[in-house]
């Protein structure tokens, strides 16, 4: 029944076409109508990995008329690894999302073009970034309890397709901002600015190099344009604080550092106001002198610049069995209370100092200023007089070697004075625990420290640890705070 109707329709259509031959058509004369602009819909869409998006290009002409140009423009995708887009008849303007990230979609015709950004999410969990502690994301040149992630770095110029994935990035809650050794970077353009910086660490080591804007993609989140430090000890001339600057990633034993601690900028207001800050320098040729730097140009945490999931982060690592294991896998989940996977339902928040990021730890009658640092690989503190924690024999004298594993309990207290909560932890014999060469992840190693209490990576094992950024809020309160 239906097919006979269609046949009839086709017959009528064929007759009409035959009779109308040579009639000149109804589209009017085509004199001197030129294309003025192109618009794209939708603009800046976000789709899940494995799905498709139909883009439509509409042309506006010199006579103010508009026309659908989807089948006649040329479509391009800047990062074909993220998404491809078709110019084939029947599928013009259809983008296919391959991997999480961002790409620029451009429609062009006769010298006129229009671009929009297509963001591809990781399939419902765009804010999840895998962590391996001494696993696949760490280089072979690693050390015990080293948490590694990968980040995607792209040339920041619009419309370019240069992106690379960099692994062996140390996940560090004790610093702020992204730094990567130049020798590992292939996609950034040559340095054109003068800004460089000297970053010193607690152990007296330092990294030096220019500050460059990169387009950085964390997990399946949209790309952010952010100043990063390109670690390069050959850039300009080393200032006094960086005379010992790391010369290679082989020496540093990481390819880069992502600092996702409590502060959003590596220096902050001191470097806005003072040129004599000892961190930022302006280099003309080999001559570098101290300079002020606005907050927007300082090296800063890319995760705090995201359009969403930007108020903090959750570090999730599994528990580690006594005696250790070879590697563990976990997740860095961006945002606090912004998605179903980062709800702080059972966490207690502890505020931190707005100048140092520290709070207070008490252990057996001793009181310490303290911090939580995924970039430290053990529990580090000066043992209180009441606790006997003998040092190991040389060359491991900076580690604790009690005869048997000791179960301890400290109390952490907000910088504001309340709340307080207990933190049970264990310290074992470093020599015997690390004797098994096939293991690189240990929950119960610690060593001597001076002054403060350093809750290193073992603190994270078996805990959900929330990092609340300064200047941001969540249901846990206003940053800077830790919550677990």
């Amino acid at each position: 029944m239906r097919s006979s109707k269609i046949l009839f329709f086709i017959l009528i259509l064929a007759l009409a076409t035959a009779c109308g031959g040579g009639g000149g058509g109804g589209s009017g004369n085509s004199t001197a109508k030129t294309l003025v602009s192109i618009s794209l819909t939708p603009t800046n869409p976000s789709i899940a990995k494995g799905t498709v998006q139909q883009f439509t290009a509409t042309g506006t002409f010199s006579d103010n008329s508009t026309q659908n140009l989807t089948t006649s423009v040329t479509w391009t995708s800047s990062v074909t690894a993220v998404a491809t887009i078709s110019n084939a008849a029947g599928s013009n303007g259809i983008a296919t999302a391959a991997t999480a990230g961002s790409t620029t979609i451009t429609a062009a015709s006769g010298g006129i073009s229009k671009a929009t950004t297509l963001t591809v999410t990781g399939g419902g969990s765009a804010n999840v970034i895998p962590i391996t502690v001494n696993g696949a994301l760490c280089s072979d040149n690693s050390y015990p309890n080293k948490p590694c992630i990968s980040v995607m770095v792209c040339d920041p110029a619009p419309g370019t397709s240069s992106c690379q994935t960099v692994t062996d990035i140390l996940l560090d809650t004790g610093s702020y901002g992204l730094r990567i050794f130049k020798e590992a970077l292939t996609v950034l353009p040559p340095v054109t600015g003068n800004l460089a910086e000297c970053i010193q660490f607690g152990d007296g080591t330092s990294v030096w190099g220019p500050v460059q804007t990169a387009s950085v993609i964390l997990g399946g989140e949209p790309a952010v344009q952010v100043p990063i430090q390109v670690i390069d000890s050959t850039f300009g001339a080393l200032p006094a604080g960086c005379l010992n600057a790391d010369q290679s990633l082989a020496v540093a034993r990481y390819t880069g550092i992502l600092g996702i601690g409590l502060f959003t900028h590596d220096c902050g207001t001191t470097c806005v106001n003072s040129a004599n800050n000892g961190i930022y320098y302006s280099c003309i040729g080999a001559s570098c002198s101290g300079t002020t730097v606005s907050l927007s140009k300082q090296v800063q945490n890319p995760a705090a610049l995201l359009p969403q999931d930007n108020n903090g982060a959750l570090v999730q690592l599994p528990g580690v069995p006594p005696g250790g294991t070879s590697s563990v896998n976990g997740n860095l989940i961006l945002g606090i209370g912004t998605q179903s996977n980062n709800m702080p339902s059972s966490a207690t928040a502890y505020s931190a100092s707005s100048t140092t990021g520290e709070f207070t730890t008490q252990l057996s009658g001793s009181t310490y200023s303290s911090f939580i640092d995924s970039g430290s690989n053990g529990f580090f503190f000066t043992p209180p007089p009441a606790i006997q924690l003998p040092a190991c024999p040389a060359p491991n004298a900076a580690w604790f070697c009690p005869a048997s594993t000791m179960s301890l309990s400290a109390t952490n207290t907000s910088a504001s004075g309340a709340p307080s909560g207990p933190v049970p932890f264990q310290i074992g014999n470093f020599i015997s625990i690390t004797a098994n060469a096939s293991n690189s992840v240990f929950a119960e190693i610690g060593g001597t420290y001076r002054g403060s209490f350093d809750w290193g990576l073992p603190f994270f094992f078996g805990r959900n640890v929330f990092v609340g950024y300064e200047g941001s809020t969540s249901s846990l309160g206003s940053g800077p705070y830790w919550a677990y």
């Binding site: 004790g174 000297c198 607690g202 152990d203 034993r253 800050n277 000892g278 961190i279 060359p395």
Partner: protein
Amino acid sequence: MKRSLYALLFGLGLAAAFLTAAGRVQATLGESEDSVASDETALAAARLSTTAHNGYRVRELQTDSVAVREYVTPAGVIFAIAWNGLIHPDLTPLLGSYNDEYQTALRHTPREPGRRRLHIQTNQVVVEKWGHMRNLQGRAYAPALIPPGVSVDEIK
């Protein structure tokens, strides 16, 4: 008594040595407190305060990014320095004649990845650094110059 006399002589000796060193007046540890003035220049610092303690006094210098405390014996010899701030200060002017010994020891100290501290002990000087971004800290002292009755725990 004998030790403080030694300290004074040691300090004066060093001060004399460095005054002859062609205009480069920038040393502190083990030297007379007069060198605090040169440190102010070297560090572009403002002197904040002097506080008296039992057996010594502390002078504090403040730059835009680090506070440096200089520990001075009653005889006027600087026996220790400590600091905290956004950076570790340049120790070259602060360690003075002890700097070469420190640098040599530093070169022979293996790196400890994953640690946020440095501990260097030579025959004459102890240098310690610790902390993290936004709160770097440290101290350096000459054990032989510490006045009797003063504990190293007071250097902080």
